[in-house]
Amino acid sequence: MSQHYPLIDLQNLSISYSTPRGMVSAVDDVSLQIPHGASIGLVGESGSGKSTIALALMRLLPPNARVTGRMLFDGTDLTLQTETQLNRGWRWRRLSMVFQKSLSALSPVHRVGAQMHDVLALHEPGLREAQREARIREVLEAVHLPDRVLRSYPFELSGGMMQRTMIALGLLCNPPFVIFDEATTALDVITQAQILKEIERLKDEFDLTTMVISHDVGVINAVTDIVAVLYAGQVMEVAPRERFFSMPAHPYSRALISSVPRLDGQQGRITGIPGSLPDLTNPPSGCRFAPRCPHATPECMERTPRLIEIEPGHLVRCTEFAMKDKTDR
């Protein structure tokens, strides 16, 4: 049985990139807890900062990134670990990542088997060759891949097989936490459904805590327990999945859900969200969604509302709810 302590605890995480145009505020004061055994979905569009958070957790951000805040993994602050410590004890052994562009994540001139050996050799140097072989076979079986994949080059594999290979790589050192960054975006619908099913199964089989990043609300709906909505680097809403889809609170969440055409028929036309992302080198002082929000008030533009818990497990960052919260007290 999994205990529900937070395996991952992000506290006031802020990430900026130093660019010739100025400091780009990619992630702003994000605080998020991921309970052990849960699957959290980060949903957002381009510029939301979701991939940045994932890379930050893996400490894989480029050198021009400035990180403030804490990232606690099982109590240890990852921001304080050195590269050596990260490679020896953390990356791949405690947390790993499955990327989207599989073809560019693997070296095209080496066979898959060799690359998997390399990864194991780096992160678990104590293993002997035979043990590595055994472990590799194990993960291949877990993702239902045939042995011949080991002898293949990445370009010889189909999209679905590539993605399974990436997942196998992610599980190679049995980490308790895996990040899936748009892992099924490049796949066709049928293969995507297959892979998502695999992910569900692997979650149970390996007792994984996962973070699923996607711009596709359908994917989030399929494999997550908790949904966190990000917009322009800020967390706008966090809720259990069913509650999120049945009663989304934040105007952005509601607009996002209603901008997706439904298979069971639409009542009238879908509407998008007017305007575009704020300039992140000069972000608005208040709520970052306010310039595009149909319910925005002057107060929204001035002060960023806090993340309020409106129901157990359901948090919203919105002036509308902040007001209610004040009047309730």
């Binding site: 569009e45 066709d188 619908v189 049928i190 459904a193 994917v219 889809f245 298979l263 509407t271």
Partner: protein
Amino acid sequence: MSETALIDVQDLRCLFPIRKGLGDLLARRAHNVHAVDSVSFSMQRGEIVALVGESGCGKSTIGRMLVKLQEPTDGAIRFDGQDVTTLSGESLKAFRRRAQIIFQNPFEAFDPRLTIGASLMQALRIHDIGSKADREALIVSVMERSGLKPAQDFLARYPHELSGGQSQRIATVRAMLLSPDFLVADEPVSMLDVSVRADILNQLLDLRDDEGMAIVFITHDLSVARYVANRIAVMYLGMFVEIGPAEEIIANPRHPYSRALLSNTLPVGDEARTGEPLEIGGEVPTPVDIKPGCRFANRCPFAFDRCRVETPVLQPHGGKTDVACHLYD
């Protein structure tokens, strides 16, 4: 009814030869990729037909053939009764005024070295539309009718200064400047953020309703197809497997592949799932050197002997959609 049809396609085929090696060269063996094979359909003004399928199914190739960006290997395309293959020179240019296309990638839709205004002017200049004074006014009016106000601001910009959504809208404006009767939209929203898609989709719906535009809408997303299309054609490996009214295809898909696509499309939120997802093994092969028989047979859970030897023909089989499947013979 094909007298009133704007587009009439008969037995369209497009094969791409691939040269494999010296052995083939000596033995005079030619290998072909059957990108599009024996496709026939017709459409009227004021109608949107969606071509739905996974990547490699030939839908984009059909789109390109319909606007003469790709020459068919075989078959006939008639536009307003006229055979399109014989066009050249002035008649080809006249055809291009009437048949336009918008592409998937909005970020590459314009020459990066020209301002938007210059690119739009060019479209008018190619076809000698209006006098110089008229042209600017025409551009401004079409831009503003499409909701791009103030037009002058956009016209002064370079392509890299636009967001994906803005760029795609302006790409549509460019096509509309020629007042075409027919538009091919090749995955126009696949690369756009979800909240921006509605505008483009609604713009296409308006073109159909207000201007009687005939649109071929190419997509891999059934939900989007349902939203915009009057009719949906499901494609697999270069052939139509089913075609019919959009609601009918979604509510009662008959071809096993249509059923698989539909049931594996992820629902959003509290949408009812359309039954248990039909599981299809294997991956989409490349259509090289196709032999007779149903192309879906090796993956189809309902395949029987006849499927492997006799190619099924697209027919109503007593239902509301045309389907190419021996299950319905």
